[in-house]
């Protein structure tokens, strides 16, 4: 018996550690180029963040790194949430952190999925794992992305956007039935504003994929049966100025310690994100992104 245990311990000691020598980075190109002829499953990374959250930029960088590796199959969205991490600073601290990136829908999703209450940064990958394993730290994103990339999709989404009108065309790729919703929202990138990064206050930080507005969140169709090659068209008319005013009013009147500084939108940096999710488990099954001005 003694020998068995000693042997076991020895084997354990000898085999139980890998020491990796540098260089640690492996040269990689975009590992899965998108096949433009057919629909592939795309992945939405929802990054819950805040401009005074010191570790949040590292999550944003992780999102960018995943995006640059997997290209168009990764779609990012940054949701600025919570009083502690995303509220604007009082005017006495100007010019630092005066902008209010928060939105009504960011708050609703944050409450529904219970993300910021357990600290930021954190996010969801296609909302997989709801209700108990959907909230992921940034170091957990990659593994979930890799699993999701293996999956097939039953939906193809096409977005065409022109000023004031967005058309989302969903093509059914298999005979399926289920309870699905289609969500259409607008995000903005290249917003230059303050961000806490570690112990630094970065004045010219580039905020990307920031959620601006939710345009629609409705059943994909009235039926629960879908037949292969069916196409479902959704047309949305919108007025950007009134959406912007909505956020300003939200910041001024509803958001905790908001100040109404939520304007300055630039449509040339905006995109439409459309995604389909399963109402029973919230899982996002397909997502697509297109420039708001059809660039």
């Amino acid at each position: 018996m003694k020998n068995i245990i000693t042997l076991f311990s020895l084997i354990l000691i000898i085999t139980s550690c890998d020491i990796v020598e540098g260089p640690y980075e492996i040269n990689t190109e975009n590992v899965t180029p998108t096949d433009t002829n057919t629909y592939v499953k795309k992945i939405l990374i929802e990054d819950f963040t805040g401009h005074t959250c010191q570790n949040c930029p590292s999550a944003a960088r992780e999102l960018e790194a995943i995006h640059s590796l997997y290209g168009d199959r990764i779609i990012g969205m940054a949701l600025h949430v919570s009083k502690s991490f995303a509220r604007p600073y009082p005017i006495s601290q100007a010019p630092k952190y005066q902008y209010d990136f928060r939105t009504k829908w960011g708050k609703e999703w944050d409450d529904l999925f219970g993300i910021s209450e357990m600290g930021l940064p954190a996010g969801m990958i296609n909302r997989i794992g709801y209700p108990s394993e959907h909230r992921l730290g940034k170091d957990e994103w990659l593994a979930r992305v890799i699993t999701e990339l293996e999956k097939e999709t039953d939906f193809g989404i096409n977005i065409s956007a022109n000023e004031g009108v967005i058309t989302v065309n969903t093509e059914i790729l298999n005979n399926i039935n289920g309870d699905y919703n289609l969500v259409v929202c607008i995000i903005e990138s290249n917003i230059i504003n303050w961000q806490k990064d570690g112990s630094e206050d970065v004045e010219n930080y580039e905020h990307n994929h920031a959620l601006r507005a939710l345009l629609s969140n409705e059943n994909l169709s009235t039926s629960s049966n879908y037949t292969i090659s069916d196409e479902i068209e959704k047309i949305i008319n919108y007025d950007l100025a009134s959406l912007e005013q909505f956020n300003i009013d939200y910041s001024e009147n509803i958001a905790e310690l908001g100040n109404g500084d939520a304007g300055g939108w630039d449509s040339s940096n905006m995109s439409v994100i459309a995604y389909i999710y399963d109402n029973t488990n919230k899982e996002i099954l397909q997502v697509e992104e297109a420039h708001l001005l059809n660039k």
Binding site: M1, K2, I5, T6, F8, S9, L12, I13, T15, S16, C17, D18, I19, V20, G22, P23, Y24, E25, I26, T28, V31, T52, C53, Q54, S58, R61, E62, A65, I66, L69, G114, E117, M118, G119, P131, S132, E133, R135, L136, G137, K138, D139, E140, L142, A143, I146, K196, G198, S199
Partner: protein, 544 residues
């Protein structure tokens, strides 16, 4: 799968019980229930719960028959109390095990808690107050081949909420008591120990080379001679990058931790001098840097206060890097002397100080390498400092009194994970008086008066507590915390709590009503943030 094993276990328990006439077998258990109602209170920031009432409950059952033990724990979170992680949800039997010992070999299958040394490289434990439970699920063997030699080895997965983390944890530990092993009859006792823990997790990262097997090892030494006792442990964790896709996100540096403590004690006097240094030493059941995966434990190097205002700003061990020293002195002034009086006076002095490592913890990637100086105190960022003196005196047969004075410095930004520069260091001066008076046999009144003076944080606080105990069955307590020094006048609030309890035999019931402030709750340097709340509470505990 889990269910199947549980049913099999219950079945085997029942079967065993029916054969137990000849051999004494016992079943023991204990039950805990904590229920709380949550009403909104905008002033203190307390939120109402949609469910109105939240409830946590546990039942442990252990069956023993000779050298065989089996047991399980049923846990119920319907829904979990607000200061608990949302991921504790629903009911289940997440803990079940069976174990037997034969010819010096102990075999455990199923769930178990285990620790290597003082926990620097591995500690699986549960603390219901903290909502922490990283129980292992797997196999553990313990064996003592010779007198004075203790071996253990284990393999398993570590619990996170109602599931298990991805990594497979393997561990082994050997402890040798030299005096027992070599039959030495020396006055000096020496115990040495060596532990090793390794985690396997597949490398799926397409951009960075990751170690799939990450090892941590530790060596410990304990020397006892008369009133002297030295204990030390040194631990190393090998490269353990989190597996990010960014270069800056992956730290390939080794981590290490050193703790050292020297004690001298004789009748009426004791002194403990301790230091520890921790550098990049968080060890987890998965690569991801999330608190639910932590599987090691670095004991805090500060005094664990029990009085509310002394523990208002507690220290949490920074496993990524800190250097600390602590000294405790215990002295009893003799009976009959001028200061000692009729019963003697006890004095307990404590000093601790924790600061950051020089230019942060160790770091290594393709572009940057940093190893902090081994010891650096001057000029480093202060995390925590506490200097306190406690005096305990029995005045006469009816009156006992405890007084404490303390000065604390608390780096709120670091210790609460806030944005640097938001709050800075909270300096506080604290005084406590605790007097208990025995009215007659079985009837005791205890009064606590506490005062905390501070500019930073939430400003100054006063607290009063009156407790009336009719032993052995009843107790009543009223407590008020008053934040009179808050810089925001609207937050100069009273937090009143009323509690009463009834104890009879193995059962205990406590009912309370009151408001709790948002704050930090710590056990042994492991801390969690607690939201403010307002409502009724019911706690029942029972054992058989």
């Amino acid at each position: 799968m889990l269910k199947k094993i549980t049913y099999t276990l219950i079945l085997s328990l029942l079967t065993l019980n029916s054969f137990s006439q000849n051999n004494s077998s016992e079943i023991h258990g204990n039950f805990d229930l904590n229920m709380q109602s949550y009403q909104e209170d905008e002033l203190i920031g307390a939120e109402a719960a949609d469910e109105i009432i939240l409830n946590n409950a546990y039942l442990n059952i252990n069956y023993t028959k000779g050298d065989f033990v089996a047991g399980l724990r049923y846990e119920s979170y319907l829904n979990a109390l607000l200061d608990f992680d949302d991921n504790y949800k629903g009911n289940g039997i997440p803990f079940r095990y069976a174990s037997y010992t034969i010819d010096g070999l102990e075999v455990t299958v199923g769930n178990y808690y285990e620790q290597v040394g003082s926990g620097l490289i591995f500690r699986s434990y549960e603390n219901k107050g903290l909502g922490a439970d990283n129980a292992m699920d797997g196999i553990r063997l313990k064996y003592s081949p010779l007198k004075g030699i203790y071996l253990k080895t284990f393999i398993g997965k570590s619990r996170t909420y109602f599931t298990y983390a991805e990594g497979i944890i393997r561990g082994a530990d050997a402890e040798v008591n030299l005096n027992e092993a070599l039959n030495l009859e020396s006055k000096t006792k020496i115990i040495i120990g060596q532990g090793l823990v390794s985690r396997f997790q597949a490398d799926i990262n397409p951009k960075f080379k990751l170690p799939q097997n990450v090892a941590a090892y530790s060596t410990r030494l304990n020397i006892i001679n008369g009133g002297w006792n030295y204990s030390g442990e040194y631990a190393v964790k090998l490269n353990d990058p989190v597996g990010s896709l960014t270069s800056e996100g992956n730290n390939y540096a080794k981590g290490n931790a050193l703790m050292s403590s020297l004690t001298y004690s004789k009748r009426g006097f004791g002194i403990v001098a301790e230091m520890h240094r921790v550098d990049h030493m968080e060890f987890r059941s998965e690569r991801a840097q999330e608190k639910q995966y932590i599987i090691n434990y670095i004991p805090t190097l500060t005094k664990q206060h029990t009085y509310t205002l002394l523990a208002l700003y507690p220290s949490a061990t920074q496993t990524e890097g800190e250097f600390g020293t602590q000294i405790d002195v215990f002295y009893k002034i003799k009976k009959g002397s001028l200061l000692g009086g009729k019963y003697g006076t006890k004095l307990i002095f404590n000093f601790s100080r924790i600061n950051a490592l020089n230019v942060g913890s160790s770091f290594l990637n393709d572009n940057r390498k940093h190893t902090p100086m081994f010891i650096s105190i001057k000029g480093e960022e202060l995390y925590y400092k506490d200097i306190n003196l406690e005096v305990y005196k029995k005045i006469n047969k009816k009156i006992r009194a405890t007084g404490v004075i303390a000065k604390q410095s608390y780096n709120k930004d670091v210790l609460e994970g806030k944005t640097p520069g938001t709050y800075g260091i909270v300096e506080s001066t604290i005084a406590i008086a605790d007097i208990s008076y025995k009215i007659k046999k079985g009837y005791t009144v205890r009064i606590e008066l506490q005062e905390l003076l501070a500019d930073g944080g939430e400003g100054s606080w006063s607290m009063g507590l009156a407790e009336y105990t009719i032993s052995p069955h009843w107790f009543f307590a009223v407590q008020d915390m008053y934040n009179w020094g808050n810089h925001e006048i609207s937050k100069q609030l009273h937090y009143v709590n009323i509690n009463f309890g009834y104890l009879k035999g193995a059962n205990r019931i406590e009912i309370g009503y009151g408001k709790k402030r948002a704050g930090i709750f710590c056990v042994g340097g492991v801390c969690k943030e607690v939201p403010s709340s307002n409502g009724f509470s019911l706690a029942i505990s029972s054992s058989f």
